[in-house]
Symmetry: D2
């Protein structure tokens, strides 16, 4: 029997990617949940209508037999829609930043807005399977990680746990993202002529994804420097992460930290010492690819990680979490 | 009277840019010096033939009245051509890496090849006007800086001189360049389908531009971590530079270091504290644009610098140097 | 003495290009005329403020000594601003479609809006110098041509005049434009992720530039098929124009039609028979480049024309027209 | 039981696409056949080795139990490899142009080379399923269509058969292709800096795909004008096809021609009259999307067709043909 999975925000880039993945998934079929009227109809080929479309109301959701809903919506819309859906017995996978932090205070500081559902923060389960798999299986409200924190946390957390970072020198994460990470709403900043043949940094030292990385890795804010950059491409995140290593005799030792941490992980791929991934390697996949370089004499260490921001950084990871929540094989529909 | 300026390597991207700048320069006219036969003729509009083209021989150069020659060639070709040209009394501006380092040993280590003209290393003048203006005026053999070192040195040198870097934590330079920096020779790495919608790191910790930055800034190799990345754009370099600041109360103090260093510089532009430049700001200009961010509590500091790799990073700076060498106004033909 | 030239719409792509050209023009200096408040301030380097900015009122324009104003505005704004400026004795160069057609009826049909200044249609001079130079010199209200019609008219008009088109087979113009042609206002259609790695046709058979081409060439609507396409690039228009030739023995004969028509034109460049231009050849120039192919047996003829839509297709041609209107050399500031 | 399918030329863009499709295909597994040594090894993630790789010899192919081989090779290599493979009892699907035409004379004229296996021309079956399905099922040597002819033939053939083209006015096919269509071998023409922000026409009137379209449609060479253009994108072909219609009262009539021709076709999608597809609609799919516009008064007709040149234009169609040849469902592995 097929699981009916609802998508709110199905016109956005994460929503479109969810449609793609869930349509090909052997155990689910997508339903489009219309939250707000939208006239931006694109012409469709005759006889290729796409998934069924119904209003996003508790009644319509129940009638359609939908048991899990993906919210590919801004935080304020997720805060509005999550409570009634949960009350209706539906599992919710939220792709926004609404439920990623632990306190309303932290949320206010980084998102510059009030949290309207602070009591849900304690109930939400943070959905980075590689660090939180067991809790995810039991989640009713799943908070899907941010795109930048997914890669950064997978890189930094094992290093902190292995104690190989010289903490006093700090960790630098120089992150670069494709434009789809900024969403589909038109703006000057994401207009073709402003982005093409251009490259720029933004949110230096104050990106809202920073506290998420701190929570996942155990670093203190003063130890972590994060800069985001906008790449003139559609999709993909590459993070170049710098630290000073302690107690490592060579790149093989650094690679070994990851081999131990991720030996059994289906969606983390490691490169031979010295080799690093590029974005083409992960495009349209749910993989996080990691490669390392190290100068053992000085301890200068560089780790490069790549994900597709719309897959492992959003829709793919959301489906990975759904698979865990519904007892499916974790990789179903994702390989 | 117009100065006749020869260009060897006029079909490469730096050479094409030199043609563009020298053609519009009020005091020079370009001559194309044919070093090797090349059949890659592009159709030209009728009656728009371009600059005169002559063989690159001492005799032809002398007959044409050429007094300065730009070598937009690979290092081994520059080593071959510089001696006879200098002997013929011509001033030489070399855009390759042949004469940027001080010893044949350092050259061998970083360029993985023997230097065939080691005695010229002592005679070559390093052409970063902002740090070496007086020596440049008297140069006969001018070594034009590398693209990455131009921006990195302009950012880091004043910080070292002002003593505001906590040296033990090191300096990280995360550099991103457009594809024209790799030259015009066809290769898989610079093929459209390999570069478009892609992004990748290369030469991590061992880029040949590293020793040049160390010479310019006084940093030790163990203090400097450099990674290059390939941007899917034609031209432009953006460097995000990280360090731990000491003795700075705020971003304004950091900006002040640059205001003092570059108050009189025609080709360095600074941004108000907190604002940073993007590549569009410097495209097709000879400017190096610099912006700063600082968290005074932790000392985390980020400086963003942008140049056009073909202008301030190559042909433009070469003409800036020529202006100084020939006693012209330094900005002639460059604003 | 420098001519003060005002620009309304200076934040749009044509307006930015006008700033660039007029700033480098030896006989003019640009003034930015603020028509509507706009908060989209981009950070500027310290000490590089750009041209002076004043309100777009008759009084402010008069006080600033502005004698020519460029309207890089939508048609409805041009219709609003042109009358008071003309009344104030200022010459007006309008880059919109407001005054390109001859009757309010034609305007209504193609622009789907009422013309609010129909009496100005008779006073406006159409500014394609290659076909209308003398009238342009005397113009007070100059209507700058559309980007597509500039290239199409320069290609088709000489063919019609030479009588070499088999009219019954019609003329096809397959036109492709970079995204800047759609203006700077954010929209989904010009968002990076919608345009990159994409290509599409629009306004098939009903583009508002069609009547302009008919007026310039003498073709009847039933003889002319026009399709526009959106290229994933910033700037440039390439038109591939198809017709059946009559009375031509070979490509040289076809080229000869253009050699005769444009021998003395400074901004039309022709290619040897068989060779055709690409967009790189005209980027950031005021040239229209033309190349031809012909199969003499069947009469199948193909002409390829390229312009930079923001230069010869907008700002550059506007300055060319201004040069004529003010008695300057026609090429001043444009080579 | 899984069919073992060999791929020669697996490093090229069509070969990579074949790997992708055949790996996900439920009834096949790919084997990489090494024809020529190649040192361009790309770093692979640890434990993700890819398909098995064996020499391309009759013995190795037989030992591996390979029963179908895809030749994603240049024509001359296909001519060399096809005979021994066929002799060994293997079915061959050739993606080159080697076997698409019917006579060695035609081949010589358009490919400018001698055909070395003229006797195979009669045995090869042309693999455009929509026009040749039954013959394909029985093929031993299958010649996969060219990318441009696939879309052009699907558009033009039904029009010719329905008799709605005014033949005297001819048919124009203005075709635009992404860069992957030019193959993976590095060349200046496909270098990033030459292609990005550029657009150009090539092979005007003499493209080698022309005779293939003539064979498929029944048009005479004098009736068909074809121009190819290079789009600055990775993949996708859009063709804008122009003709003068006879006997059609409106766009619905034109659409009706296609509805009748392709009602049962799984890989041709039609758009409502007036709407046309863009390249994003077909990216990474095996669909050919078609939309129409018509001015009934003058008969001016425009048809827009889109395919992914690497899928329906190469690897996807090759697998569609393999499905037919092996008695699988035609859509297996392609939806």
């Amino acid at each position: 029997m097929t699981t009916h999975a609802g998508i709110v925000g199905f016109r956005g880039y994460s929503g479109i990617e969810l449609q793609r993945i869930l349509s090909a998934h052997p155990r689910t079929s997508p339903w489009l949940l219309e939250h707000r009227a939208d006239s931006s109809a694109v012409p469709q080929p005759i006889g290729h209508a796409g998934p069924p479309r119904i209003p996003c109301t508790p009644q319509a959701v129940a009638e359609a037999g939908i048991t899990v809903v993906f919210l590919a919506t801004p935080p304020e819309v997720s805060m509005e829609l999550a409570p009634p859906l949960l009350e209706g017995g539906v599992r919710v996978v939220d792709l926004s930043g609404a439920f990623r932090l632990r306190t309303a205070e932290t949320y206010r500081r980084w998102y510059k807005e009030e949290h309207t559902q602070p009591e849900l923060l304690a109930r939400a389960v943070y959905g980075l399977p590689e660090i939180n798999r067991e809790a995810i299986r039991a989640a009713r409200l799943l908070s899907n990680p941010g795109c930048y924190p997914t890669a950064a946390s997978l890189v930094i957390r094992p290093l902190v746990q292995a104690g190989v970072i010289r903490r006093s020198a700090g960790v630098v994460c120089d992150a670069k993202s494709g434009v789809s990470g900024a969403g589909r709403k038109p703006s000057l900043k994401t207009s073709f002529c402003e982005v093409a043949e251009n490259f720029s940094a933004y949110s230096i030292l104050d990106h809202r994804h920073v506290p998420e990385v701190l929570l996942n890795t155990g670093l203190d804010e003063s130890e972590f420097t994060f800069t985001a950059h906008l790449l003139p491409i559609d999709r993909g995140i590459l993070e170049t992460i710098y630290f000073r290593a302690e107690g490592l005799a060579g790149a093989a030792d650094l690679l070994d930290v990851y081999l131990k941490a991720y030996a059994a992980e289906p969606f983390v791929r490691l490169y031979p010492a010295g080799a690093v991934p590029g974005l083409h390697a992960v495009a349209r996949t749910n993989f996080c690819d990691i490669g390392v370089r190290l100068d053992p004499k000085s301890g200068r260490a560089v780790v490069v990680a790549c994900i597709d921001n719309l897959v492992k950084g959003a829709a793919g990871q959301a489906v990975q979490n759904m698979n865990l929540m519904l007892g499916f094989d974790e990789t179903e529909g994702l390989l």
